[in-house]
């Protein structure tokens, strides 16, 4: 059946016509054979609508509260679904210096540097592993594969990070997670599937291994690398656990730690934690929601790009990894 490879997310515009129409035919035929009864249909609709609402409604509430005017938030007991007007005081106060602004910069920096390094090192290792017949190819591949089966454990990992002198450095948020064996395997399978003819042709033309990697391997796998890069990026942005473990100095906290302290644990944000551009501090609820929104927005921005590709990426990983 060709539907999986043909057109899972509408990313294969070059798909051949006849193939598609048989797939559509098959679906139509199947539809005729087993048309759903009305009970089944309405149950399904209701369940799926509720499921989607459970995801969407909280976000609407959070965004609405973060932009609602202070008195409306106070009067309605801390939660607003329909803001009377748009008031950005909360955002202004957390973004004009202070704890949240600094954490935001840390998170952006970690995500940018980390994603770049992860992509580079992952692609390099994956390329090396895709070159069968080279020295130590097999043992290296086994080391990567075996690392997927176990995790070294919390305490030993912490001790290693400490031994490397990374505690309380920004690098502790990047280096331990810079290469994911799983992603290496996914990228490698892309490299392996590149047609040999192109690589041989480049070799005949006198290209060095490095040139083949830079000029052929990377450009031809751009889509795959983009997806993996987005995955890495989301991970760095979301990293909370490593910060909890390795960063004792609150001045170096990334956004997720700030989110935990001031939203999950509900610590009060006083004037010293807020920025300077506030005359009257907005209610805590509004500030909390604004922090939450700021930490979600980057994910929402990359989401459409992620979404276009990931089912393919995940499948490759699951099937070939």
């Amino acid at each position: 059946m060709s539907t999986t490879t043909q057109n899972p997310q509408g990313t294969a515009p070059g798909a051949s016509g006849p193939e598609l129409s048989t797939a559509a035919d098959a679906r139509r035929r199947r539809a005729n054979l087993n048309a759903a009864g009305p009970v089944e249909k309405s149950t399904k609709t209701i369940v799926l609508v509720i499921a989607c609402a459970l995801v969407i409604v909280p976000f609407i509430g959070i965004v609405a509260t973060s932009i609602a005017p202070a008195d409306q938030v106070t009067n309605s007991g801390g939660f607003v679904l329909f803001p009377r007007e748009i008031d950005l005081t909360a955002y202004r106060s957390i973004l004009s210096g202070g704890v949240v602004s600094r954490a935001l910069l840390v998170s952006i920096g970690i995500t940018a540097v980390g994603t770049f390094l992860s992509l580079l090192i992952t692609a390099m290792l994956a390329w090396a592993l895709s070159r069968r017949g080279t020295v130590a190819n097999r043992p290296m591949l086994l080391l990567v594969l075996f690392s997927l089966l176990f995790s070294p454990g919390l305490i030993p990992t912490y001790l290693a990070v400490r031994q490397f002198g990374l505690i309380d450095t920004y690098w502790s948020l990047i280096i331990p997670t810079v290469v994911s064996g799983f992603n290496v395997i996914v990228v490698r399978s892309f490299f392996v599937s590149l047609p040999d003819e192109i690589l041989d042709a480049a070799k005949v033309d006198g290209a060095s291994e490095w040139q083949i990697f830079r000029r052929i391997g990377i450009p031809l796998s751009r889509a795959a690398l983009a997806v993996i890069g987005l995955f890495y990026g989301v991970n760095y942005w979301n990293a909370f656990f490593n910060a909890l473990l390795y960063i004792n100095d609150a001045a170096k906290w990334p956004l997720q730690m700030v989110l935990r302290t001031y939203v999950v644990n509900g610590a009060q944000m006083g004037t010293s934690e807020l920025g300077t551009a506030v005359e009257a501090a907005p209610p805590q609820e509004t500030i909390q929601m604004a922090i939450l929104v700021i930490s979600i927005v980057p994910i929402l921005i990359v989401y459409p790009f992620l979404q276009r590709h990931f089912s393919k990426g995940v499948l490759t990983g699951a099937v070939k990894g």
């Binding site: 059946m1 539907t3 899972p8 098959a26 679906r27 539809a31 087993n34 759903a36 399904k44 799926l48 499921a51 989607c52 459970l54 995801v55 909280p58 939660f79 090192i121 390099m124 290792l125 390329w127 090396a128 070159r131 080279t134 020295v135 080391l143 594969l145 690392s147 089966l149 176990f150 995790s151 070294p152 454990g153 919390l154 305490i155 030993p156 990992t157 001790l159 290693a160 990070v161 490397f164 280096i175 290469v179 060095s208 942005w237 979301n238 909370f240 656990f241 989110l259 935990r260 939203v263 999950v264 609820e285 909390q288 939450l292 930490s295 979600i296 989401y303 979404q307 089912s311 499948l315």
Partner: protein, 324 residues
Amino acid sequence: MAVTDMQSPPTTASPPPARRPRPSLLRRILRDRTVLLLALPGMVLLIGFQYFPLLGNVIAFQDFQPYLGTDESLWNGLDNFRILVTGDPAFLNALRNTLVLTLIQSVMIFPVPIVLALMVNSLMSEKLRQGVMSVLYLPHFLSWVIVVAVFQQMLGGSGMVNNLLRSNGLPTFDVIGNADLFKVLLTSQVIWKDTGWAAILFIAVLAGIDKSLYEAAAVDGASRFQQTLNVTLPGLRPIVILLFILQLGNSLSVGFEQIILQQQAVGIDASEVLDTYVFNEGIAGGQWGTAAAVGLVKSVIGLILVLAANKIAHAMGEEGVYRA
């Protein structure tokens, strides 16, 4: 360029390499040096943060003192493991919570994505299908901190739901911070966050099931339910078994970040699991040796479960995770 230069002197015109006597190791290393250099940073990091830490497990057999380090700390044999058998109440509590959560997760959480996949798959319109899934995937990409915060804002004492109830004069209920409901809360959070994501694989597999099987079944007079039972579910079987095995390996890891974020609200009794026990006992509490011992046992059990499950899968004639 350098690569071709290295190997070319004896024969210039692309000879089959297998024919020639195998070049010496040093020669091969020189020949493949670019590839090796490309692999170097990744391998160093992998060894440094996956394999090297394994050595750190020796502190499970030590009375480890951080300021002395592994070399100088005194060995104490199996003392740290004694906690596993002496019935230490804190440890037993963590173990009990872990096992209960494992059970809940296998029974309550595992089937949900499959049901979702079946529902979404039977939607007729491709557009609708994609729309629904786009919404349901989303929470997977949010961090646990965000998910926990969202749940608090929705269900907490001053959250949206209670707000709504209060303004309508109805009794309120606080799910967050209620120790009795903690496991229910954890379960619903996992379902909210990852059901859509987990369903991707099932949907892809469903799309790959040969449609003529359904037609054949329908011709033979199978009802829709019978078709699901006899065509769809057998089609899903290999992937279900695969995922179940993978999950088995993680069965003693029941959501570390998620739990540690919410421990404060409900107390240790209801929330401590093995992972949080290792963290609280070791890194926060300074009982390094004990924590490492518990962690080590947990990792070993996890590995054994994966290997055993894989064997069982083979015995049942399934692919399993890997072939050894």
